[in-house]
């Protein structure tokens, strides 16, 4: 399965978190919100200015800035 950064994903696309490259405060916040390796999620949408991105994970909606989603590598089911 191809691996892409979260930023590259499109609306409605599903994926499983492959790796999180952030450490320090950002890394900890990402994990605190339930994003760890192996977590499935899908892209719910983007803000009107294309940034931040909203994802649906563990039954809630989380939004992240594009420059934060760069640190998240995702195994996507298929390239749309």
């Amino acid at each position: 399965m191809p691996i892409v950064p979260l930023r590259k994903m499109t609306k409605g696309q599903k994926g499983i978190i492959h790796r999180i490259n952030a450490s320090g405060e950002l890394g900890r916040r990402i994990r605190d919100m339930g994003l760890v390796t192996g977590t499935p999620f899908w892209v719910q949408g983007r803000a009107p200015l294309k940034d931040p991105v909203a994802i649906r994970v563990r039954n809630f909606t989380l939004t992240l800035r594009n420059n934060e989603s760069d640190f998240i590598e995702v195994e996507v089911e298929e390239v749309l």
Binding site: I20, S23, E25, L26, G27, R28, R29, I30, R31, D32, M33, G34, V36, T37, G38, T39, W42, Q44, G45, A47, P48, L49, K50, D51, P52, A54, R56, R58, N59, F60, T61, L62, T63, L64, R65, E68
Partner: protein, 727 residues
């Protein structure tokens, strides 16, 4: 070790889990809101009675975790460790179990007696999620009680269980989780060393301290170094070895592995019979359907403008009438004092110093109440998170946060707001640098008190283009606020932006009780904290404007003038001139002379040494000085300085005509003054709020920095205009 606090129960949970609602349902009106010492995190305490026992409840700040990164997390953690409540009620959102249990696991690892309130079970049921509470409780080894905070369902059972737990007087029993072959052996070694040396063990469980060393938790390591430098060094070295090993073998680090195993523990916990999904999970619910419209690319911003405008209208329209009552009340009080007190400095102190000062504080209350109602509504429904989501891209460019917009709008981003509630509205901002930058720049917006001053100047010099100039001023205030926010974030508040990672909670209808409690608390806090500072400083200002008064010899000249007018008027052959008007004219000239001779007048005169750059004479300077007490006072002080009489607030003054006819005034000078007034030091009430919301340092900063910016830009406008031949 602090003694165990019997009947002290803490409430912990994620943001948006219904914690505050449950707290309100349990304590009702019996609560008290303050701040934790020295910081701006709110501390909520309340009481309730159960079977004759008086229970004290503390609502800890909502957190996702118990790390040391955010102030809220640190506060919550330190409260649990240091104040050692006899039980912690952990509120868990039933429809969002996995992520909420992440905090639960950390509480259990700390060892504190926990019971879980499985909240919003009704919502979970509606979503087709059935949770077996008994089984979950058995696996977690803590009581799990289903609750619905909105209706208060389950709160008695919850409290009873909490009291049962508190009575047991158990020793803290930390949960052990396996963190896999790389971490576990080291963790055991560290734990043994910590136990042997009784290192921090009187307050922190040994294994927990070891875990925190592995997680590189700055706060715990700092405490450890103070306690035992040598052992702390050894532990840090062990942690570093694991870290190095993990980097080489797994290209990961301990923190990440620990989080992975915690989530692993949670999913194992929820498997086999704890959670049942009766219909397809993750389908679109009403809330998501609403979001399809409310955060839509095109309709989203459109609705946002409407909703924000409505909140603004609500705040300032409905507060208008009570504001007028307050004002009428205070002028009646002033009138009463006027007729009862003998003339002299004491009367002047009571009327101009105390009554005006207190009136100034109280006058803001209706606006604050309505602003908090509007903001609390938007926040509790979950809409404010959407506003931050939609606007973050723009505000981030200027080093701010999507949530900064509310503070700007309320402060006067739509002309006519007020910076006092605006500064208070930054409470919804969780990231500290962005929050301070918002607080300092929000007062640049054109508040309702600057408007009459602008209107007076516009009527005098730009009467043909009133609407265009007002619009230009609104744009200018936004541009300056954003540009200066950026400047501050690049200099005084330099540093990367705080991670955004914002949850969009499902839309919910807030409870009326919650809104009401929330709002009253805030208003009361404002009266207490801001009130004292404002009263003190308004007395100082009164003294500056009134002392030392005119020398006796000069006073005598005016008295003689008045006597001669009266003498003339008593003659039957007196000319047709109206003696009352002539007397008033003398009074006005005397008031002007007294003002010029006052301390403020002298400061204003000496400031002309600098302010000539902007084109301001002593009259303008003294008016600007008085405007620090409240911006609308600028008009009445200018009136006095131009011998037009010092009218009380709201009275018409022919100042506009006087300035227009004055040869020393030009449209350019007026514009330079408008720019100065737009940007200079926030008024007293705002500064008091800035100090309350941040620190003395930032209060003084906004006073000096904003004035410096105002001086520079207004000088630039004036001198630039003169060069271009606009003067």
């Amino acid at each position: 070790m602090n003694p165990r606090r019997a009947n002290l129960i803490a409430l912990a949970g994620n943001p948006n889990c219904g914690k505050s609602t449950l707290f309100n349902a349990i304590t009702g009106g019996h609560q008290h809101v303050g701040n934790y010492p020295g910081i701006t995190v709110e501390k909520k305490e309340g009481y309730c009675h159960l079977n004759g026992n008086r229970l004290k409840l503390v609502d800890l700040p909502g957190t996702y975790s118990l790390t040391a990164y955010s102030l809220e997390e640190l506060v919550a953690r330190n409260y649990l460790i240091e104040d050692r409540p006899s039980a912690v009620i952990n509120i868990v959102d039933a429809s969002n179990l996995e992520r909420n249990l992440y905090l639960t696991v950390q509480l259990l690892e700390l060892g504190i007696p926990v019971l879980v309130a499985l909240n919003m079970v009704d919502m979970a049921t509606a979503r087709g999620v059935a949770i077996n509470c008994e089984e979950l409780g058995r696996r977690l080894r803590v009581p799990v009680i289903p609750t619905v905070a909105r209706t208060g369902k389950g709160k008695e059972e919850l409290l009873e269980a909490a009291v049962q737990l508190a009575k047991k007087d158990v020793v803290w029993e930390p949960l052990h989780i396996s963190y896999g072959p790389d971490i576990d052996p080291v963790l055991d070694r560290m734990e043994a060393q910590i136990r042997a040396a009784a290192f921090l063990t009187e307050t922190h469980p040994a294994r927990w301290t070891a875990l925190k060393y592995l997680e590189a938790d700055e706060e715990v390591i700092r405490k450890g170094r103070q306690k035992d430098e040598a052992l702390s060094g050894k532990l840090e070295e062990l942690a570093e070895q694991v870290s190095e090993h993990l980097r080489k073998t797994l290209d990961s680090y301990p923190e990440a592995i620990i989080a992975d195993y915690r989530y692993g523990f949670i999913s194992a916990l929820l498997k086999q019979g704890v959670v049942k999904h009766s219909n397809k999970a993750d389908r679109l619910y009403l809330s998501d359907q609403l979001d399809r419209v409310l955060t839509h690319r095109f309709f989203g911003p459109l609705f946002m403008m409407l909703i924000v405008f409505a909140a603004y209208k609500f705040t300032f329209t409905y507060s208008k009438l009570p504001v007028e009552w307050f004002e009428a009340g205070f002028s009646a009080l002033a009138g009463f004092a006027d007729s009862f007190l003998p003339p002299g400095p004491f009367k002047s102190l009571i009327i101009s110093g105390v009554i005006d000062g207190v009136g100034g504080v109280m006058g803001f209350i209706p606006v604050i109440v309505f602003m908090f109602l509007a903001i609390a509504f938007l926040e509790d429904t979950g809409y404010l998170a959407r506003v931050a989501y939609m606007l973050d891209r723009i505000f981030r460019t200027f080093g701010l946060h999507g949530s900064s917009v509310m503070a700007y709008i309320i402060s006067g981003g739509i002309a006519g707001g007020c910076a006092v509630p605006g500064v208070l509205a930054t409470r919804t901002l969780r990231s500290s640098r962005e929050r301070i930058a918002t607080i300092v720049t929000a007062p640049f917006m054109n508040c309702g008190a600057k408007l009459p001053v602008f209107a007076m100047l516009i009527a005098a010099f730009f009467s043909a283009k009133e609407a265009q100039v007002m619009f230009l001023l609104t744009i200018l205030s936004w541009v300056s606020a954003l540009a200066i926010a950026k400047l501050i974030r690049l200099t005084f508040l330099r540093g990367p932006s705080t991670p955004f990672l914002l949850e969009l909670p499902p839309y919910r209808l807030p409870t009326f009780k919650g809104l009401l409690i929330h709002t009253c608390e805030r208003a009361w806090q404002y009266i207490r904290k801001a009130g004292t500072i404002i009263l003190a400083i308004s007395i100082v200002f009164w003294a500056l404007m009134s002392f030392p008064g005119l020398p006796k010899a000069e006073k005598k000249i005016y008295d003689e003038e008045r006597e001669s007018i009266l003498a003339e008027a008593s003659q039957p052959t007196s000319p047709e001139a109206n003696p009352a008007a002539r007397l008033q004219e003398v009074d006005y000239r005397e008031a002007q002379a007294a003002l010029k001779n006052s301390i403020a007048g002298r400061i204003g005169t000496s400031l002309t040494a600098i302010s000539f750059v902007n084109g301001f004479d002593w009259r303008t300077n003294v008016a600007l000085l008085s405007g620090f007490a409240a911006k609308e006072v600028i008009i009445s002080t200018m009136g006095t300085a131009y011998s037009l009489g010092q009218s009380r607030r709201g009275e018409e003054i022919p100042l506009s005509g006087r300035l227009a006819a004055d040869a020393s005034w030009t449209p350019l000078k007026a514009f330079s003054l408008i720019i100065f007034i737009m940007l200079y030091a926030p008024c007293l009430a705002t500064i008091a709020c800035i100090i309350h919301e941040s620190s003395w340092k930032w209060g003084l900063f906004s006073l000096t920095f904003n004035t410096a910016i105002a001086f520079l830009l207004s000088a630039l406008v004036y001198r630039g205009g003169l060069l271009l031949g606009l003067g």
